[in-house]
């Protein structure tokens, strides 16, 4: 076997010329060439007709042909063995890598074998097939439209029936649309508020409320309204800025922070990804989805990226036990924008 049949992993054998063993041998004209040349291709019948379109194919050198045949047969044999291996692998408990590679060998062997067979031992001469006109004649189209119109005019002659039947079908179609309404609740107000309200404690994922001292300067923790841990619309970032960072509260929000702790909605105002990256030294919140960047020290104003609105801020206070509570809901609807958000 001079030629490599087909390496077990097909993707590596993608190079066409490398995988084609016979071409160099047969590329040079040999003594037998004229004897087996395609000098008289069979004339195609049926819809295919006409002379061979391209230059005649090179004849296959018999010795090269034998090699190709053996190579193809070997591919099938390797495929069979790999199939056996696949069964053994499965029976032995399975292994993803072995299964994948063996399956690739099984199918790759069959594929390469068939292609070699087709390329070298199946009729490969090019034939020309006539292309009849797709379009019908004017007369045929005219006849068709005439029939259509004739039937149609008989329908149109009963105007009352036509009108009422059309109305009934339209009403039926309309009635069919109503069940769509069952797919979801009324859209609207739920998007505009969260469970935060005056006096609601901010709790961590484990449900524990927080005191200001629980958060180190430069620290951040994700919190929810008490009783709504995990609520998809209410994750909130509680951030304690470093002592030397110049926090600039928005006008009217001077009393919304406690002990240097500020709370913003964790949902990006762009498409609602959790704004999880807190760059503590620069005081920036970055959304890992689309890189919207918010300035924590300046009311979470968007300073970069596609987000167009500040993160909504949650007014904070302390309850009688010293735990951090909200004093109202967020300053704005949280998360991504929608048509009537501002109404």
């Amino acid at each position: 076997m001079a030629e490599p049949p087909e390496p077990p992993e097909p993707p590596e054998s993608a190079e066409p010329s490398a995988a084609e063993p016979a071409s160099p041998a047969a590329g040079s004209p040999s003594a037998e060439a004229s004897a087996i040349g395609v000098d008289d291709p069979p004339a195609p019948k049926g819809s295919a007709s006409g002379p061979p379109a391209a230059e005649p194919l090179e004849p296959l050198d018999p010795r090269a042909g034998e090699r190709v045949e053996r190579g193809a047969a070997l591919c099938f044999l390797v495929s069979m063995l790999a199939a056996l291996g696949l069964a053994v692998t499965y029976w032995q408990g399975g292994n993803t890598q072995v299964e994948g590679v063996l399956l690739a060998v099984v199918t790759g062997g069959i594929g390469v074998g068939i292609i070699l067979w087709a390329k070298h031992f199946m009729p490969g001469e090019e034939v020309a097939e006539d292309r009849e006109d797709l379009a019908s004649t004017e007369a045929e189209v005219a006849a068709f439209t005439a029939d259509l119109e004739a039937g149609g005019s008989s329908l149109r002659s009963r105007r009352l029936l036509l009108a009422s039947a059309t109305g009934a079908l339209a009403a039926f179609g309309g009635a069919l649309l109503f069940p769509i309404r069952s797919l979801g609740p009324r859209a609207g107000r739920g998007l505009k508020g969260t469970a935060f309200a005056d006096g609601v404690r901010l709790v961590r994922e484990d449900g524990e409320p927080l005191k200001p001292s629980d958060l180190a300067p430069g620290g951040v923790v994700t919190v929810w309204p008490d009783g709504h841990v995990g609520a998809a619309d209410a994750p909130t970032l509680l951030i304690r800025t470093h002592r030397d960072q110049p926090f600039r509260p928005r006008p009217g929000r001077e009393r919304w922070t406690v002990h240097g702790i500020v709370a913003y909605s964790k949902l990006c105002t762009h498409v609602g990804c959790p704004v999880g990256l807190y760059q503590a030294e620069k005081g920036l919140l970055l959304c890992p989805c689309h890189q919207s960047t918010f300035d924590v020290l300046d009311g979470a104003r968007p300073v970069f990226g596609p987000a167009a609105r500040s993160l909504p801020q949650l007014p904070l206070g302390l309850d009688d036990d010293g735990y951090i509570v909200a004093t109202a809901d967020f300053s704005d609807p949280v998360g991504p924008g929608f048509w009537d958000r501002g109404r």
């Binding site: 097909p10 993707p11 019948k45 819809s47 061979p52 379109a53 391209a54 499965y90 408990g93 399975g94 993803t96 299964e99 994948g100 399956l103 199918t107 790759g108 069959i110 594929g111 068939i114 292609i115 087709a118 199946m122 009729p123 090019e126 034939v127 020309a128 097939e129 006539d130 292309r131 769509i180 309404r181 797919l183 979801g184 609740p185 859209a187 609207g188 739920g190 995990g230 998809a232 762009h270 498409v271 609602g272 990804c273 959790p274 999880g276 890992p288 989805c289 689309h290 890189q291 919207s292 970069f304 596609p306 987000a307 167009a308 991504p336 924008g337 048509w339 009537d340 958000r341 109404r343």
Partner: protein, 463 residues
């Protein structure tokens, strides 16, 4: 002979012998680039086969459960049944992981083959009369395939897929007037919605595969009816098809190609780990990982979302949110333009003749240049979807990378389009064949408005 008896038996009942013979002798042009669509077809077959296997084990349920499978690093973690069953499929079902990975790789390759096929058809002008219908079916197949791919990887309810769903929800929400309603009806309420996984499951395994199967059948039936296009060459005319007969050579090659595609998918599925959901963890709406990207075919949309500057429209308390423009408008424009292209081109060139001989791209400088410019635009969008990973990999600033893309998304299409136009002209001149384009850039708007009085003949178009 047995075959004759069987043929006789069937023909007595259906009378198909003559038709079947025509099929056997059907001629297929032998150019390799005409087989790229077949790659997509075979990927789809593999998707169906592996997908059916996966449905036996996957449970599309949002019910909460606690993991007790064999993967240690998630022991006792709360998750949904969907995610748990995907883990079980990966770790505890024999041959489950290789099937899952083959399914995912086949999906990526399915879309890749469709896109390359679309490019081949576009750049050779194979969409022209009489093939406009098949072009539009093809575009529909592309949309369905993209959507089904997204639906598929969104089912597993891992952190990455949940993030993708959240973005899809927000884009839906951004549609003016009806967005909140559509989002609510689709998800069964506010995100994450109790029903979305079950609904996506039905869409993913039933509705869209059925639609793809029907349209694919139509795509192929029309192709058989209209016969293939072919490149010009000796003996090749508008009135014939030159190639190999269906039986046995082309059938064998097609079958062999199917096995080879399966081999590629099996190799990838066994050797390259894809979508390691056990690393991503169960979805939690308050969490996200750095470098969250969609699968490649959605990358251009994700990149467009990033590249879009932070603008939105607000008036009288109503607003058109920022993601509407890249997420809905751009996608809508993209597919509308694809649907309309054969008709736009015919209107601009005034060439509505029947074409069975395809163009070499260089012969059509304007079309080729526009195509390259569009490819450049989507490529920049696509790379924009990886802006953070590019920044990290090359030690650059995310902001600088994104600003680069914001300029590149405008400049690169212009530059590459102009360069392609010059190149086509140059190459055609070297060939000694004048280009077929008799339209200059400047004329295009007027021709789009008024059409053109000149109706060219096939001979004109071939010139």
């Amino acid at each position: 002979m047995l075959s004759r008896r069987v043929a006789r038996w069937i023909d007595d009942r259906l009378g198909t012998a003559q038709f079947a013979r025509t099929v056997l002798n059907k001629v297929f042009p032998d150019h390799w680039s005409f087989m790229i669509g077949e790659l997509a077809l075979y990927c789809f077959v593999i998707l169906l086969l592996t997908g059916v296997y996966l449905t036996f084990f996957f449970d599309p349920s949002a019910n909460e459960t606690v993991y007790r499978g064999s993967y240690e690093a998630l022991q006792g973690v709360e998750m949904t049944e969907a995610y748990r069953s995907a883990l079980e499929l990966s770790f505890d079902v024999r041959a489950g992981l290789v099937m899952r990975q083959m399914h995912h790789w086949a999906a990526l390759l399915f879309l890749a083959a469709i896109v390359v096929h679309l490019g081949r058809v576009f750049f050779t002008g194979a969409f022209r009369r009489p093939r406009e219908i098949n072009w539009m079916i093809g575009v529909t197949l592309l949309i369905l395939a993209m959507f089904n791919g997204f639906a598929g990887y969104s089912l597993l309810d891992d952190q990455l897929s949940g993030t993708g769903l959240r973005i899809a929800y927000s884009i839906t929400l951004s549609i003016p007037l009806v967005g909140t309603w559509i989002a609510s009806l689709l998800f069964g309420g506010e995100f994450p919605g109790p029903d979305i996984i079950e609904r996506l499951y039905v869409i993913h395994i039933l509705l869209i595969p059925a639609a793809i199967t029907v349209l694919l059948t139509a795509h192929l039936a029309i192709l058989v009816r209209q016969k293939h296009t072919q490149f010009p060459g000796p003996g090749r005319t508008e009135d014939n098809v030159v190639g190999t007969r269906m039986w046995p050579t082309y059938a064998a090659k097609a079958l062999g190609l199917f096995f080879l595609v399966t081999a590629v998918v099996a190799f990838l599925g066994g050797v390259f780990q894809i979508n390691p959901i056990w690393i991503y963890g169960p979805f939690d709406p308050a969490e996200v990982s750095a470098a969250s990207q969609p699968d490649w075919y959605m990358g251009w949309l994700d990149g467009a979302l990033r590249i879009m500057p932070g603008w939105e429209v607000r008036a009288f308390g109503f607003e058109i949110p920022n993601p509407f423009f890249p997420g809905v408008l751009l996608a809508g424009l993209t597919f509308t333009a694809l649907y309309a292209w054969p008709f736009l081109e015919a209107r601009v060139t005034g060439d509505d003749a029947v074409h069975h001989l395809v163009d070499r791209p260089r012969q059509r400088p304007v079309r080729t240049a526009l195509g390259v410019a569009c490819l450049a635009f989507y490529l920049v969008c696509f790379l924009g979807g990886a802006s953070d990973v590019l920044a990290q990999t090359f030690g650059l600033s995310v902001n600088a990378v994104l600003w680069t893309f914001r300029f590149a998304v405008i400049l690169l299409p212009i530059v590459s389009g102009w360069f392609t136009y010059r190149l086509c002209k140059e190459l055609s001149a070297r060939d000694g064949v004048p280009t077929a384009s008799r339209v200059t850039w400047r004329e295009i708007p007027a021709r789009l408005r008024h059409g053109t009085a000149r109706r060219s003949t096939p001979a004109d178009a071939e010139a």
